[in-house]
């Protein structure tokens, strides 16, 4: 005696497979950077509730995202490091920034609380080059005349896994110190001459809070949520600024996007009195002539929705939405550079 009616089972299977294929047809597929993953997935949740269209985003890393979009296995790629205009053109890709975040230096020096220490790029570079080895070094004292700095040895901590955080930090140090640029350079992974490598934000945060005299760098959200002792930085305008949503957005707003083809602009060390110097955008990559225009249109719809409705959600996760002027410019880019897409609904 059979408990399951075979006909019914068949019908059930058929509905399941139809549902699965329908979902596959409407889901937006993307792959890449890990840094924006929390905010992309939060947006995706809300978007799915509103529209029924899901997002399948694999946070496999920027390198993987670039490879996957070039192999055309996903509709969009995401990268923390913008592709150079020549590379974009060769691959037929269009690139635009999607979300902003920042990197924050954190310290563990006895008697120094959050925001009490001020550093500048050249000094941090010297620390990570192994040239400044004690906290009471004259160069640090000069920036902090009133702080009581101990004679503790500095223990530099770096991110060991390849990441956009590393890229932003080393890019900033390369811009601040010719010697750093020459001997180390900017990349998602670099060869550090001194210090100890910890895995991920959590590893760096833990090593820094555990080791007396340590200095490290983590994503802003991480420093904020864990109440870590961040250091202020002196920006290109010569002002000491603290990391916050306002200073990140100032860096993005002061940047010269209009004269950067392919939005190839790294937001570190931007001008402006209020700009946080280690700010970075995470980028989206799409095909200029999409192999499957319907998929790309669906992806653009999602990005457009996120620009409109995603600001609040991003702020809750301590990311920073793009300034309005930049969003306008990106919408114009979509219209002019991506072929075969029906016009977006006007806002």
């Amino acid at each position: 005696m059979s408990l399951v009616n075979p006909k019914r089972l068949l019908a059930l299977l058929a509905t399941v497979s139809v549902a699965a294929s329908a979902q596959a047809a409407t889901d937006i597929s993307g792959a890449g950077a890990t840094f924006p993953y929390p905010v992309y997935s939060k947006w995706a949740d809300a978007y799915k509730k509103q529209t029924g269209v899901g997002l399948n985003y694999q946070s496999i890393g920027s390198g993987g995202g670039i490879k996957q979009i070039k192999a055309k296995t996903v509709t969009f790629g995401a990268s923390d490091k913008p592709l150079e205009p020549a590379e974009l053109k060769a691959a037929g890709l269009v690139q635009f920034p999607m979300i902003i975040g920042g990197v924050v230096p954190v310290t563990n020096v006895k008697g120094i609380k959050a925001g009490q220490l001020t550093l500048d790029g050249a000094t941090v570079a010297s620390i990570y080059l192994g040239e400044i080895t004690e906290w009471n070094d004259a160069r640090i004292k000069k920036l902090n005349p009133s702080a009581a700095l101990p004679a503790t040895a500095i223990a530099p901590v770096y991110r060991s896994d390849g990441s956009g955080t590393n890229f932003l930090f080393t890019d900033y140090l390369s811009k601040s110190s010719p010697k750093f640029k020459q001997s180390i350079g900017a990349n998602a992974s670099v060869q550090w001459p001194v210090g100890i490598g910890a895995k991920g934000n959590e590893g760096v945060a833990n090593m820094t809070t555990q080791t007396d005299g340590a200095i490290g760098y983590v994503e802003y959200a991480y420093a904020k949520q864990n109440n870590m002792a961040f250091a202020k930085l002196i920006n290109r305008g010569g002002k000491a600024v603290a990391p916050s949503a306002e200073t990140f957005q100032a860096a993005a707003a002061n940047a010269d996007w209009a004269h950067s083809p392919g939005y190839y602009l790294i937001l570190t060390d931007q001008p402006g009195a209020a700009s946080w110097p280690i700010t970075g955008a995470s980028f989206i990559l799409l095909y200029g002539t999409p192999p499957n225009p319907g998929d790309t249109a669906a992806a653009l719809k999602f990005f457009d929705w996120a620009f409109r409705n995603g600001g609040q959600m991003a702020s809750e996760l301590d990311y920073v939405p793009l300034p309005e002027s930049l969003i306008k410019q990106i919408r114009a880019t979509w219209k002019s550079d991506i072929k075969g897409i029906p016009a977006m609904a006007a806002n």
């Binding site: 060991s160 896994d161 670099v190 100890i196 910890a198």
Partner: protein, 323 residues
């Protein structure tokens, strides 16, 4: 009627032969599948690593540099870290495992045998990421505060071996990674050792005791020679795990592509480098160099297992000739 029986019998026999040959074929396919997989892995590793090997030639093996900015890669630091952490882990784990196995099979009171045995098996089931997080949050601070300062003060000033224990106590580093590895391979080695020790016939041991041998002598002269190949097998199983362990090591080794003379300093291993850098590796030479590291690990593991087999063969031959 007789002929009908014979016919039925032969039909039955034919069916059996068919089943037999199907079964044989199926097992052959399963065996060949393993070989094909192994060959496939080796080939694809070589293919992926070829750009790096042909670009750097022998320098890939002899240089310590690992610089993604200038695209210069050498595997020396990672190979060194892999071998050193595994070696120290084995130095710690083998004697302890030996002690556990001997205690459980020869000395423990029966009421203690089961709980300790189960505890060891449970330890083997802990995922490596747990060991990594435990190493980072619990073991590393403990070593940093209590053990490493002592090592630096007491062993640091000594000639020769002092070099191994100098520098600031970071907590994480080559030594911490080795300790975590030792704890991870310990259950494997001791479980295998215990199982093979239990296969020793009581008659043999009782004869030893009957001749007036001490427990130590029975273990050394009866149990160990009888179980030699099993013990070496257990050690190799542990070593294989230590060489390839990724997550736990990545958390606690300090991830620096340098060879520091001190065991307290940061280092890296092959698998830790791959886990750290593969996701964000952009550029063909970089990716290829990471795959090249993987190929080297494959080669090292292969060599270790081959060497162990050879050693066993030698031992067996010597044992035969001495009889």
């Amino acid at each position: 009627m007789n002929s009908a029986v014979i016919e039925a019998d032969s039909r039955h026999a034919a069916g059996q032969r068919l089943r037999e040959s199907i079964f044989r074929g199926a097992t052959l396919v399963a065996a060949l599948l393993v070989l094909t997989l192994l060959g496939g892995v080796a080939l694809s590793l070589l293919k992926g690593a070829w750009p790096a090997f042909s670009h750097f030639k022998l320098q890939f093996l002899t240089r310590e540099i690992w610089n993604p900015v200038t695209d210069q890669y050498g595997a020396l630091a990672a190979v060194y870290g892999t071998l050193v952490t595994s070696l120290i882990a084995m130095l710690i784990a083998i004697p302890i495992s030996f002690g556990i196995a001997i205690f459980l099979t020869e000395l423990a009171p029966p009421w203690l045998k089961r709980p300790v045995g189960v505890a060891i098996e449970l330890l083997a089931a802990v995922p490596s990421i747990i060991f990594g997080i435990w190493g980072l949050f619990v073991l590393a601070p403990m070593l940093q505060r209590h053990v490493q300062p002592w090592l630096i003060d007491v062993l640091g000033p000594l000639p020769l071996i002092g070099k191994l224990f100098q520098g600031p106590p970071f907590g994480i580093g080559v030594l911490t990674a080795s300790v975590v590895l030792a704890i991870m391979v310990l259950p494997f080695i001791s479980a295998v050792m215990r199982d093979v020790f239990e296969t020793v016939p009581d008659v043999l041991k009782e004869s030893g005791y009957g001749l007036g041998a001490t427990t130590w002598e029975v273990i050394w002269k009866v149990v160990l020679p009888y179980t030699r190949s099993g013990v070496v097998g257990g050690i190799m199983l542990g070593l294989g795990r230590a060489l390839g362990e990724t997550m736990a090591v990545t958390f606690v080794i300090g991830n620096a592509h340098r060879i520091s003379p001190s065991l307290l300093g940061p280092g890296t291993t092959i698998s830790a480098s791959i886990a750290n850098e593969f996701t964000e590796a952009v550029g063909d030479l970089y990716t290829s160099s990471l795959i090249g590291l993987g190929a080297l690990l494959f080669l090292i593991t292969f060599t270790v297992i081959a060497a162990a087999r050879l050693l066993l063969l030698r031992l067996d031959r010597r044992a035969l000739s001495s009889v």
